[in-house]
Symmetry: C2
Subunit: 253 residues, 2 copies
DNA sequence: ACAAAAGTGTTTGTAGTACACCCATGG
DNA sequence: CCATGGGTGTACTACAAACACTTTTGT
């Protein structure tokens, strides 16, 4: 008999309390988007003793609702509060975790069949302190265009999240949640371009954003240590932002 | 001690086999839309011994995926095959079934906490034979504008389904699944108006539909037993329909 | 001078909305 | 003739897309 790996010992330890704490068969996976240095990032965990990365996830406590579980998981992983969360799909393939757990004992909590509910989250990169959990060695931001290989069906979950984010760009408070309090117009445009995966015309974008009447221009431009003209700073006018979102920026028919 | 009601006996009977057959804590609820006599209908079940109605639903078998479970449930309730199914949300409130089952014994399968995944379905009214299940006395179509009181959170589930249907009207094969093989332009327009809850301009609707290039006009008009001019019959050109849907009829940005 | 940012103008094309007109046809 | 259905014309509006010009500002 081989020695169980350290990873397996950890799984077994978490497993013991899990049976009491959580509702079986149901899990939550979160796709956390952040925006930094002109690129769109996702928060990933590198599993201990494994080359694979995974999405932050967890289980639903007996007395919890799904969304509460997602909030709790995200607060543990990011330290941030008031995170924008949106459910986007359920993943129930029979064999979705088969490959990953096949070498581990059947009594593990994690080896049950799980139906996973996907949430995507939008966070202010500057407010997040990525924290690994007890099964992972690292928690880090990764560029969405250069993702490492992901465990189980997490790649599919990520793709679905990004697709949903794209579709909801016109209707949901997306800039508001991904940008710091104060930001510049080029930053906002870059963010939109990254989400949509294509260039947008600057002049048109400017007019459109100003036209929505949800931005407040601040008096002072960014005190740039860099070169060239300092860009104007903006912040969202929260109240008008909320009401604009009620109607949606636009809809069909 | 009171006698257990007939309804309770039935619950207890179903309960016994359920523990072996199904994955606990996970259920499926279906909002089945049909179109008939110029109104939009939903398939509902009237619970035995109860005044309340409920959505057709069920549980996921051990070796089943969620969608397969929904398909099975719908085939049992409607007799129809190849039903268009779309997942639209997860309902996980802690107390979502509390009120309904409070007078029944705690050992009942149904009294567990369930996380319910909502699917909406679009069916050809003429192909459906509503079938009650063993807990319900009636399975019947109800006008969406005159729904009876629904059990648990089924009203909320229905509302969410209708909202999703409305939003997806431009992107998904909605007319195709709700109408019989052959239909007239006024019928198609009426369907759209019912889903959207508002009148549409006839001329514009006609041009738009013809412009999508997914309809085939048939040689013969409807041999109307009624009065006035016989309307033209159309059917969907399945192939062009599918490709048009790939792209979506329209998108933002 | 240069490069980035800001603001505005113009043109073209497409799509939705509203209204109106004419024809066809079955009773 | 009338009510319904079919098909088209047209004008107004909104918006997107592409492009261009100007001005401001920090190094």
């Amino acid at each position: 008999m081989e020695q169980p790996s350290e990873f397996q010992s950890l799984l077994e330890e978490s497993s013991r309390s899990a049976w009491q704490l959580y509702v079986p068969h149901i899990s939550v996976d979160c796709v956390v988007f952040g925006f930094h240095e002109a690129s769109l990032k996702v928060l990933l965990l590198k599993m201990k003793d494994q080359e694979l990365w995974g999405l932050p996830g967890g289980y639903m406590k007996i007395e919890e609702e799904l969304r509460e579980a997602a909030v709790r998981i995200l607060e543990e992983r990011t330290g941030a509060h008031n995170i924008f969360l949106q459910q986007f799909g359920v993943f129930s393939d029979l064999n979705r975790s088969e490959g990953f757990f096949q070498d581990f004992p059947d009594t593990l909590w994690m080896k049950q069949r799980f139906i996973s509910v996907g949430f995507y989250a939008l966070v202010d990169y500057t407010k997040v302190q990525p924290q690994a959990d007890n099964l992972s060695s690292t928690c880090a931001w990764q560029d969405i265009n250069r993702l490492p290989e992901l465990m189980m069906d997490h790649r599919q979950i990520f793709d679905e999240a990004l697709l949903t984010l794209r579709r909801q760009l016109n209707y949901k408070p997306i800039g508001y949640n991904l940008l710091p309090e104060e930001f510049t117009m080029p930053e906002l445009q870059k963010l939109y371009e990254l989400i949509l995966g294509k260039k947008l015309n600057r002049g048109n974008f400017y007019r459109k954003m100003v036209g929505y009447d949800i931005l407040e221009k601040l008096d002072e431009p960014r005190k740039s240590g860099g070169a060239y003209k300092a860009p104007n700073l903006y912040k969202f006018h929260v109240e008008r932002y909320q009401t604009a979102l009620q109607n949606g920026f636009k809809e069909g028919w």
